[in-house]
Protein backbone atom coordinates (compact mmCIF):
# COMPACT_ATOMS: atom_id res chain seq x y z
CA UNK A 1 0.00 0.00 0.00
CA UNK A 2 1.49 3.35 -1.02
CA UNK A 3 2.35 5.91 1.66
CA UNK A 4 0.70 8.82 -0.03
CA UNK A 5 2.08 11.22 2.50
CA UNK A 6 5.38 10.79 0.67
CA UNK A 7 3.87 12.22 -2.51
CA UNK A 8 3.19 15.46 -0.75
CA UNK A 9 6.38 15.63 1.27
CA UNK A 10 8.57 15.21 -1.77
CA UNK A 11 7.11 18.35 -3.24
CA UNK A 12 8.49 20.29 -0.32
CA UNK A 13 12.00 18.93 -0.06
CA UNK A 14 13.74 16.11 -1.88
CA UNK A 15 13.77 13.17 0.51
CA UNK A 16 16.55 10.65 0.62
CA UNK A 17 15.90 6.97 0.11
CA UNK A 18 16.78 6.63 3.78
CA UNK A 19 14.03 9.08 4.77
CA UNK A 20 11.50 7.21 2.69
CA UNK A 21 12.43 3.85 4.13
CA UNK A 22 12.29 5.15 7.67
CA UNK A 23 8.80 6.60 7.25
CA UNK A 24 7.58 3.49 5.48
CA UNK A 25 8.87 1.30 8.30
CA UNK A 26 7.35 3.54 10.97
CA UNK A 27 4.01 3.32 9.17
CA UNK A 28 4.09 -0.45 9.16
CA UNK A 29 4.46 -1.22 12.82
CA UNK A 30 0.86 -0.63 13.81
CA UNK A 31 -1.98 -0.71 11.33
CA UNK A 32 -5.63 -0.10 12.03
CA UNK A 33 -8.46 -0.98 9.70
CA UNK A 34 -11.84 0.58 10.34
CA UNK A 35 -15.20 0.23 8.67
CA UNK A 36 -17.25 3.15 7.40
CA UNK A 37 -19.01 5.13 10.10
CA UNK A 38 -16.67 4.26 12.96
CA UNK A 39 -15.12 6.65 15.44
CA UNK A 40 -11.35 6.95 15.17
CA UNK A 41 -11.10 8.96 18.36
CA UNK A 42 -13.71 10.83 20.35
CA UNK A 43 -13.74 14.22 22.03
CA UNK A 44 -12.31 13.93 25.52
CA UNK A 45 -10.07 10.96 24.76
CA UNK A 46 -6.30 11.21 24.86
CA UNK A 47 -4.51 10.28 21.67
CA UNK A 48 -1.77 7.76 22.34
CA UNK A 49 -0.27 7.66 18.88
CA UNK A 50 -0.26 9.84 15.79
CA UNK A 51 -2.57 8.76 13.00
CA UNK A 52 -1.37 8.58 9.43
CA UNK A 53 -4.24 8.02 7.03
CA UNK A 54 -3.34 5.57 4.29
CA UNK A 55 -6.60 4.80 2.55
CA UNK A 56 -10.19 5.96 2.73
CA UNK A 57 -11.84 9.15 3.97
CA UNK A 58 -12.43 10.40 7.50
CA UNK A 59 -13.51 13.71 9.02
CA UNK A 60 -12.92 15.85 12.07
CA UNK A 61 -16.00 17.31 13.73
CA UNK A 62 -17.52 19.00 16.75
CA UNK A 63 -21.11 18.92 17.90
CA UNK A 64 -23.31 21.13 20.05
CA UNK A 65 -25.54 19.64 22.74
CA UNK A 66 -28.66 19.84 20.63
CA UNK A 67 -27.12 17.84 17.82
CA UNK A 68 -25.93 20.55 15.48
CA UNK A 69 -22.71 19.32 13.95
CA UNK A 70 -19.87 21.06 12.18
CA UNK A 71 -17.38 19.13 10.12
CA UNK A 72 -14.03 20.85 10.57
CA UNK A 73 -11.90 19.02 8.04
CA UNK A 74 -11.75 16.01 5.81
CA UNK A 75 -8.89 13.60 6.29
CA UNK A 76 -7.69 12.08 3.03
CA UNK A 77 -5.05 9.48 2.25
CA UNK A 78 -1.68 11.02 3.03
CA UNK A 79 -2.97 13.19 5.85
CA UNK A 80 -1.66 13.14 9.39
CA UNK A 81 -3.89 13.27 12.44
CA UNK A 82 -2.54 15.64 15.04
CA UNK A 83 1.17 15.12 15.01
CA UNK A 84 1.96 17.61 17.72
CA UNK A 85 -0.70 16.71 20.20
CA UNK A 86 0.94 15.58 23.39
CA UNK A 87 -0.72 12.49 24.83
CA UNK A 88 -1.73 14.27 28.03
CA UNK A 89 -4.08 16.60 26.17
CA UNK A 90 -7.70 15.69 25.71
CA UNK A 91 -9.13 15.88 22.22
CA UNK A 92 -11.41 18.88 21.82
CA UNK A 93 -13.13 17.27 18.83
CA UNK A 94 -13.78 13.85 17.33
CA UNK A 95 -12.67 12.00 14.21
CA UNK A 96 -14.81 9.42 12.42
CA UNK A 97 -14.64 7.49 9.15
CA UNK A 98 -16.74 8.02 6.04
CA UNK A 99 -15.54 4.94 4.18
CA UNK A 100 -13.49 1.93 5.21
CA UNK A 101 -10.19 3.41 6.36
CA UNK A 102 -6.71 2.05 6.78
CA UNK A 103 -4.41 4.02 8.98
CA UNK A 104 -1.04 3.66 10.61
CA UNK A 105 -0.42 4.59 14.20
CA UNK A 106 2.96 6.23 14.35
CA UNK A 107 4.77 5.77 17.64
CA UNK A 108 5.89 8.96 19.28
CA UNK A 109 9.42 7.61 19.56
CA UNK A 110 9.55 7.22 15.80
CA UNK A 111 8.45 10.80 15.37
CA UNK A 112 11.08 11.94 17.80
CA UNK A 113 13.67 9.98 15.88
CA UNK A 114 12.54 11.82 12.75
CA UNK A 115 12.94 15.13 14.53
CA UNK A 116 16.40 14.06 15.60
CA UNK A 117 17.86 12.23 12.64
CA UNK A 118 15.90 13.14 9.53
CA UNK A 119 15.93 16.92 9.19
CA UNK A 120 14.43 17.21 5.73
CA UNK A 121 11.69 14.78 6.64
CA UNK A 122 11.04 16.76 9.81
CA UNK A 123 10.92 19.98 7.84
CA UNK A 124 8.47 18.52 5.37
CA UNK A 125 6.27 17.24 8.18
CA UNK A 126 6.16 20.62 9.85
CA UNK A 127 5.19 22.09 6.49
CA UNK A 128 2.25 19.69 6.54
CA UNK A 129 1.21 20.90 9.97
CA UNK A 130 1.21 24.48 8.81
CA UNK A 131 -0.83 23.63 5.75
CA UNK A 132 -3.41 22.06 8.04
CA UNK A 133 -3.71 25.32 9.96
CA UNK A 134 -4.07 27.28 6.75
CA UNK A 135 -6.87 25.01 5.59
CA UNK A 136 -8.70 25.53 8.87
CA UNK A 137 -8.48 29.29 8.43
CA UNK A 138 -9.79 29.03 4.88
CA UNK A 139 -12.75 27.02 6.19
CA UNK A 140 -13.56 29.74 8.68
CA UNK A 141 -13.63 32.21 5.81
CA UNK A 142 -15.64 29.82 3.69
CA UNK A 143 -18.38 29.31 6.23
CA UNK A 144 -18.33 32.90 7.45
CA UNK A 145 -18.33 34.93 4.29
CA UNK A 146 -19.06 32.88 1.19
CA UNK A 147 -22.53 32.25 -0.23
CA UNK A 148 -23.95 28.73 -0.32
CA UNK A 149 -22.97 28.28 -3.96
CA UNK A 150 -19.45 29.52 -3.36
CA UNK A 151 -19.05 27.33 -0.29
CA UNK A 152 -19.94 24.10 -2.00
CA UNK A 153 -17.90 24.97 -5.06
CA UNK A 154 -14.96 25.88 -2.87
CA UNK A 155 -15.11 22.66 -0.93
CA UNK A 156 -15.18 20.61 -4.10
CA UNK A 157 -12.21 22.52 -5.49
CA UNK A 158 -10.24 21.94 -2.32
CA UNK A 159 -10.96 18.22 -2.21
CA UNK A 160 -10.01 17.83 -5.84
CA UNK A 161 -6.75 19.72 -5.39
CA UNK A 162 -5.78 17.76 -2.30
CA UNK A 163 -6.55 14.44 -3.93
CA UNK A 164 -4.57 15.48 -7.00
CA UNK A 165 -1.59 16.20 -4.77
CA UNK A 166 -1.47 12.57 -3.68
CA UNK A 167 -2.25 11.07 -7.06
CA UNK A 168 -5.86 10.15 -6.39
CA UNK A 169 -7.56 11.92 -9.27
CA UNK A 170 -8.40 10.32 -12.59
CA UNK A 171 -8.50 13.00 -15.23
CA UNK A 172 -11.10 15.51 -14.11
CA UNK A 173 -12.73 13.03 -11.74
CA UNK A 174 -12.15 11.78 -8.23
CA UNK A 175 -13.92 10.04 -5.37
CA UNK A 176 -16.52 11.93 -3.36
CA UNK A 177 -17.93 9.59 -0.73
CA UNK A 178 -20.02 12.28 0.98
CA UNK A 179 -23.75 12.42 1.46
CA UNK A 180 -25.49 15.73 0.99
CA UNK A 181 -26.02 15.84 4.75
CA UNK A 182 -22.28 15.61 5.26
CA UNK A 183 -21.64 18.33 2.69
CA UNK A 184 -24.13 20.41 4.65
CA UNK A 185 -22.33 19.90 7.95
CA UNK A 186 -19.02 20.83 6.34
CA UNK A 187 -20.35 24.06 4.85
CA UNK A 188 -22.70 25.24 7.58
CA UNK A 189 -25.78 24.75 5.40
CA UNK A 190 -28.88 22.57 5.56
CA UNK A 191 -29.06 19.35 3.58
CA UNK A 192 -32.00 20.64 1.58
CA UNK A 193 -30.12 23.70 0.49
CA UNK A 194 -27.08 21.66 -0.44
CA UNK A 195 -29.37 19.73 -2.72
CA UNK A 196 -30.56 22.94 -4.37
CA UNK A 197 -27.01 24.18 -4.86
CA UNK A 198 -25.85 20.89 -6.32
CA UNK A 199 -28.70 21.00 -8.81
CA UNK A 200 -27.50 24.38 -9.95
CA UNK A 201 -23.88 23.34 -10.24
CA UNK A 202 -25.01 20.37 -12.26
CA UNK A 203 -27.26 22.36 -14.56
CA UNK A 204 -24.41 24.84 -15.08
CA UNK A 205 -22.26 21.94 -16.20
CA UNK A 206 -19.69 22.49 -13.47
CA UNK A 207 -20.12 19.27 -11.52
CA UNK A 208 -21.24 15.76 -12.33
CA UNK A 209 -22.01 13.28 -9.60
CA UNK A 210 -22.52 9.56 -9.83
CA UNK A 211 -21.55 6.55 -7.88
CA UNK A 212 -19.88 8.39 -4.99
CA UNK A 213 -17.57 10.11 -7.42
CA UNK A 214 -17.47 13.62 -8.84
CA UNK A 215 -16.34 14.96 -12.16
CA UNK A 216 -15.40 18.59 -12.65
CA UNK A 217 -15.61 19.14 -16.41
CA UNK A 218 -14.54 22.78 -16.20
CA UNK A 219 -12.28 23.20 -13.20
CA UNK A 220 -11.31 26.77 -14.07
CA UNK A 221 -14.92 27.89 -14.18
CA UNK A 222 -15.69 26.14 -10.91
CA UNK A 223 -12.71 27.80 -9.26
CA UNK A 224 -13.98 31.16 -10.42
CA UNK A 225 -17.41 30.50 -8.97
CA UNK A 226 -15.75 29.46 -5.70
CA UNK A 227 -13.24 32.31 -5.68
CA UNK A 228 -10.78 29.49 -5.08
CA UNK A 229 -7.12 30.36 -4.74
CA UNK A 230 -5.08 27.22 -4.15
CA UNK A 231 -2.23 29.17 -2.52
CA UNK A 232 -3.56 28.45 0.97
CA UNK A 233 -3.03 24.74 0.49
CA UNK A 234 0.71 25.34 0.28
CA UNK A 235 0.97 22.25 -1.86
CA UNK A 236 3.94 23.40 -3.79
CA UNK A 237 7.15 24.20 -2.10
CA UNK A 238 8.92 27.34 -3.05
CA UNK A 239 12.23 28.21 -1.49
CA UNK A 240 12.61 31.89 -0.80
CA UNK A 241 13.24 33.55 -4.10
CA UNK A 242 16.79 34.77 -4.22
CA UNK A 243 16.26 38.52 -4.21
CA UNK A 244 18.25 40.76 -6.50
CA UNK A 245 20.65 41.79 -3.78
CA UNK A 246 21.48 38.20 -2.99
CA UNK A 247 22.49 37.34 -6.48
CA UNK A 248 26.09 37.62 -7.54
CA UNK A 249 26.49 40.17 -10.26
CA UNK A 250 26.41 38.22 -13.47
Amino acid sequence: MPIRLLNKLQQFSPLTENDRLFLRAAAERRRLMLRAGEEVIAEGERPTAVFLFLEGWAYRYKTLDDGRRQILAFLLPGDLGDPDEPPEREMDHSIATLTPVTLAELAREDLERIAGGHPTLAEALSWETLARGAIQREWTLNVGRRTALERIAHLLCELFARLAAVGLTQGSACALPLSQAELADATGLSAVHVNRVLQQLRSDGLVRLHDRRMELPDLTALQQVAKFNPAYLHLHYRRARPDAEDLPVA
Copy 2:
Protein backbone atom coordinates in the same frame (compact mmCIF):
# COMPACT_ATOMS: atom_id res chain seq x y z
CA MET B 1 6.37 45.99 30.47
CA PRO B 2 5.16 42.56 31.59
CA ILE B 3 5.61 39.58 29.26
CA ARG B 4 2.08 38.29 29.56
CA LEU B 5 2.91 35.17 27.64
CA LEU B 6 4.64 34.03 30.81
CA ASN B 7 1.34 34.13 32.70
CA LYS B 8 -0.07 31.55 30.36
CA LEU B 9 2.99 29.39 30.03
CA GLN B 10 3.38 29.01 33.77
CA GLN B 11 -0.03 27.40 33.94
CA PHE B 12 1.25 24.62 31.74
CA SER B 13 4.58 23.82 33.33
CA PRO B 14 6.50 25.50 36.12
CA LEU B 15 9.20 27.56 34.46
CA THR B 16 12.57 28.15 36.00
CA GLU B 17 13.86 31.63 36.69
CA ASN B 18 16.35 30.90 33.93
CA ASP B 19 13.53 30.18 31.45
CA ARG B 20 11.81 33.41 32.34
CA LEU B 21 14.95 35.49 32.02
CA PHE B 22 15.76 33.96 28.65
CA LEU B 23 12.33 34.71 27.21
CA ARG B 24 12.33 38.20 28.65
CA ALA B 25 15.71 38.92 27.11
CA ALA B 26 14.66 37.50 23.74
CA ALA B 27 11.61 39.74 23.81
CA GLU B 28 13.69 42.83 24.40
CA ARG B 29 16.04 42.73 21.47
CA ARG B 30 13.64 44.05 18.86
CA ARG B 31 10.55 46.00 19.74
CA LEU B 32 7.95 47.37 17.37
CA MET B 33 5.35 49.97 18.22
CA LEU B 34 2.41 50.41 15.88
CA ARG B 35 -0.54 52.74 15.86
CA ALA B 36 -4.14 51.61 15.62
CA GLY B 37 -5.22 50.52 12.15
CA GLU B 38 -1.79 49.57 10.85
CA GLU B 39 -0.84 46.38 9.04
CA VAL B 40 1.55 44.15 10.95
CA ILE B 41 2.08 41.86 7.98
CA ALA B 42 0.14 41.43 4.77
CA GLU B 43 -0.94 38.39 2.80
CA GLY B 44 1.83 37.37 0.43
CA GLU B 45 4.67 38.73 2.57
CA ARG B 46 7.25 36.49 4.18
CA PRO B 47 7.55 36.77 7.93
CA THR B 48 11.16 37.29 8.95
CA ALA B 49 10.70 37.03 12.70
CA VAL B 50 8.09 35.66 15.08
CA PHE B 51 5.77 38.22 16.64
CA LEU B 52 5.08 38.24 20.34
CA PHE B 53 2.26 40.60 21.21
CA LEU B 54 2.96 42.55 24.38
CA GLU B 55 0.27 45.21 24.51
CA GLY B 56 -2.81 46.17 22.52
CA TRP B 57 -5.11 44.22 20.22
CA ALA B 58 -4.60 42.98 16.68
CA TYR B 59 -6.44 40.60 14.38
CA ARG B 60 -5.81 38.06 11.67
CA TYR B 61 -8.02 38.27 8.60
CA LYS B 62 -8.63 37.26 5.01
CA THR B 63 -10.61 39.10 2.38
CA LEU B 64 -12.36 38.14 -0.83
CA ASP B 65 -11.93 40.20 -3.98
CA ASP B 66 -15.22 42.02 -3.58
CA GLY B 67 -14.32 43.25 -0.11
CA ARG B 68 -16.00 40.67 2.07
CA ARG B 69 -13.74 40.19 5.07
CA GLN B 70 -13.49 37.45 7.66
CA ILE B 71 -11.62 38.03 10.87
CA LEU B 72 -9.97 34.72 11.76
CA ALA B 73 -8.64 35.45 15.21
CA PHE B 74 -7.91 38.19 17.68
CA LEU B 75 -4.37 38.58 18.91
CA LEU B 76 -4.20 39.68 22.54
CA PRO B 77 -1.29 40.52 24.81
CA GLY B 78 0.61 37.31 25.45
CA ASP B 79 -0.18 35.80 22.07
CA LEU B 80 2.40 34.62 19.60
CA GLY B 81 2.17 35.28 15.87
CA ASP B 82 3.02 32.21 13.87
CA PRO B 83 5.89 30.62 15.70
CA ASP B 84 6.37 27.74 13.32
CA GLU B 85 6.10 29.57 10.06
CA PRO B 86 9.33 29.16 8.17
CA PRO B 87 10.47 32.41 6.60
CA GLU B 88 10.28 31.03 3.08
CA ARG B 89 6.51 30.61 3.29
CA GLU B 90 4.24 33.40 2.15
CA MET B 91 1.52 34.52 4.51
CA ASP B 92 -1.90 33.32 3.38
CA HIS B 93 -3.62 36.01 5.44
CA SER B 94 -2.92 39.41 6.96
CA ILE B 95 -2.56 40.81 10.45
CA ALA B 96 -3.51 44.36 11.43
CA THR B 97 -3.83 46.34 14.64
CA LEU B 98 -7.03 47.48 16.34
CA THR B 99 -5.36 49.65 18.96
CA PRO B 100 -1.83 50.89 19.43
CA VAL B 101 0.23 47.74 19.72
CA THR B 102 3.62 46.92 21.15
CA LEU B 103 5.19 43.73 20.00
CA ALA B 104 8.50 41.96 20.17
CA GLU B 105 10.09 40.33 17.18
CA LEU B 106 11.67 37.12 18.35
CA ALA B 107 14.70 36.05 16.40
CA ARG B 108 14.54 32.57 15.01
CA GLU B 109 17.89 31.73 16.59
CA ASP B 110 16.44 32.53 19.98
CA LEU B 111 13.54 30.23 19.32
CA GLU B 112 15.92 27.52 18.25
CA ARG B 113 17.89 28.02 21.41
CA ILE B 114 14.67 27.56 23.35
CA ALA B 115 14.00 24.33 21.50
CA GLY B 116 17.52 23.19 22.32
CA GLY B 117 18.17 24.36 25.83
CA HIS B 118 14.86 25.10 27.53
CA PRO B 119 12.70 22.01 27.30
CA THR B 120 9.87 23.08 29.60
CA LEU B 121 9.68 26.43 27.88
CA ALA B 122 9.61 24.68 24.54
CA GLU B 123 6.88 22.36 25.75
CA ALA B 124 4.80 25.26 26.98
CA LEU B 125 5.23 27.10 23.70
CA SER B 126 4.10 24.11 21.69
CA TRP B 127 1.07 23.91 23.97
CA GLU B 128 0.32 27.47 22.92
CA THR B 129 0.51 26.53 19.27
CA LEU B 130 -1.96 23.74 19.77
CA ALA B 131 -4.35 26.00 21.62
CA ARG B 132 -4.26 28.36 18.66
CA GLY B 133 -5.37 25.54 16.37
CA ALA B 134 -8.15 24.56 18.75
CA ILE B 135 -9.43 28.13 18.80
CA GLN B 136 -9.51 28.22 15.03
CA ARG B 137 -11.58 25.03 14.97
CA GLU B 138 -13.99 26.47 17.51
CA TRP B 139 -14.39 29.54 15.32
CA THR B 140 -15.30 27.35 12.36
CA LEU B 141 -17.99 25.76 14.50
CA ASN B 142 -19.09 29.14 15.78
CA VAL B 143 -19.58 30.67 12.37
CA GLY B 144 -20.93 27.49 10.81
CA ARG B 145 -23.46 26.27 13.31
CA ARG B 146 -24.30 28.80 16.00
CA THR B 147 -27.08 31.40 15.75
CA ALA B 148 -26.23 35.09 15.69
CA LEU B 149 -26.95 35.46 19.41
CA GLU B 150 -24.83 32.47 20.29
CA ARG B 151 -21.97 33.62 18.09
CA ILE B 152 -21.65 37.03 19.64
CA ALA B 153 -22.07 35.65 23.14
CA HIS B 154 -19.48 32.99 22.42
CA LEU B 155 -16.95 35.47 21.10
CA LEU B 156 -17.34 37.68 24.16
CA CYS B 157 -16.91 34.68 26.46
CA GLU B 158 -13.75 33.65 24.65
CA LEU B 159 -12.22 37.10 24.76
CA PHE B 160 -12.99 37.45 28.44
CA ALA B 161 -11.49 34.06 29.26
CA ARG B 162 -8.34 34.71 27.28
CA LEU B 163 -7.84 38.12 28.83
CA ALA B 164 -8.40 36.64 32.27
CA ALA B 165 -5.66 34.10 31.58
CA VAL B 166 -3.13 36.89 31.21
CA GLY B 167 -4.41 39.06 34.03
CA LEU B 168 -6.16 41.67 31.92
CA THR B 169 -9.64 41.53 33.41
CA GLN B 170 -10.87 43.79 36.18
CA GLY B 171 -13.60 42.00 38.07
CA SER B 172 -16.28 41.16 35.54
CA ALA B 173 -15.00 43.76 33.08
CA CYS B 174 -12.32 43.98 30.43
CA ALA B 175 -11.32 45.96 27.36
CA LEU B 176 -13.28 45.50 24.13
CA PRO B 177 -11.79 47.80 21.50
CA LEU B 178 -13.96 46.44 18.67
CA SER B 179 -16.46 48.26 16.51
CA GLN B 180 -19.68 46.51 15.66
CA ALA B 181 -18.42 46.16 12.09
CA GLU B 182 -15.41 44.26 13.40
CA LEU B 183 -17.59 42.05 15.56
CA ALA B 184 -19.59 41.38 12.41
CA ASP B 185 -16.54 40.35 10.41
CA ALA B 186 -15.44 38.04 13.19
CA THR B 187 -18.79 36.30 13.43
CA GLY B 188 -19.85 36.19 9.80
CA LEU B 189 -22.78 38.55 10.38
CA SER B 190 -23.74 42.02 9.13
CA ALA B 191 -23.02 45.07 11.25
CA VAL B 192 -26.72 45.88 11.50
CA HIS B 193 -27.51 42.48 12.87
CA VAL B 194 -24.68 42.67 15.37
CA ASN B 195 -26.31 45.83 16.62
CA ARG B 196 -29.63 44.04 17.07
CA VAL B 197 -28.00 41.18 18.93
CA LEU B 198 -26.07 43.50 21.23
CA GLN B 199 -29.29 45.29 22.10
CA GLN B 200 -30.77 42.02 23.16
CA LEU B 201 -27.77 40.98 25.21
CA ARG B 202 -27.89 44.35 26.89
CA SER B 203 -31.60 44.25 27.63
CA ASP B 204 -31.15 40.74 29.02
CA GLY B 205 -28.56 42.14 31.39
CA LEU B 206 -25.80 39.91 30.07
CA VAL B 207 -23.49 42.53 28.63
CA ARG B 208 -22.76 46.17 29.33
CA LEU B 209 -20.71 48.23 26.93
CA HIS B 210 -19.18 51.63 27.41
CA ASP B 211 -15.98 53.34 26.57
CA ARG B 212 -14.47 50.48 24.53
CA ARG B 213 -14.88 48.16 27.48
CA MET B 214 -17.35 45.40 28.27
CA GLU B 215 -18.78 44.18 31.51
CA LEU B 216 -20.31 40.72 31.87
CA PRO B 217 -22.46 40.91 34.99
CA ASP B 218 -23.58 37.29 34.77
CA LEU B 219 -20.84 35.29 33.11
CA THR B 220 -22.46 31.93 33.82
CA ALA B 221 -25.69 32.96 32.11
CA LEU B 222 -23.79 34.35 29.13
CA GLN B 223 -21.82 31.14 28.80
CA GLN B 224 -25.06 29.19 28.76
CA VAL B 225 -26.48 31.37 26.02
CA ALA B 226 -23.26 30.88 24.06
CA LYS B 227 -23.00 27.15 24.76
CA PHE B 228 -19.47 28.07 25.76
CA ASN B 229 -17.20 25.34 27.00
CA PRO B 230 -13.79 26.75 27.86
CA ALA B 231 -12.08 23.37 27.45
CA TYR B 232 -11.05 24.17 23.88
CA LEU B 233 -8.89 27.04 25.07
CA HIS B 234 -6.67 24.55 26.89
CA LEU B 235 -5.80 27.29 29.32
CA HIS B 236 -5.25 25.01 32.24
CA TYR B 237 -2.69 22.34 32.14
CA ARG B 238 -3.66 18.93 33.31
CA ARG B 239 -1.18 16.14 33.40
CA ALA B 240 -2.69 12.82 32.45
CA ARG B 241 -4.82 11.74 35.36
CA PRO B 242 -3.32 8.75 37.05
CA ASP B 243 -5.93 6.14 36.31
CA ALA B 244 -7.04 3.69 38.92
CA GLU B 245 -4.85 0.91 37.60
CA ASP B 246 -1.79 3.10 37.77
CA LEU B 247 -2.21 3.90 41.42
CA PRO B 248 -0.50 1.84 44.05
CA VAL B 249 -3.01 0.04 46.22
CA ALA B 250 -3.49 2.27 49.23
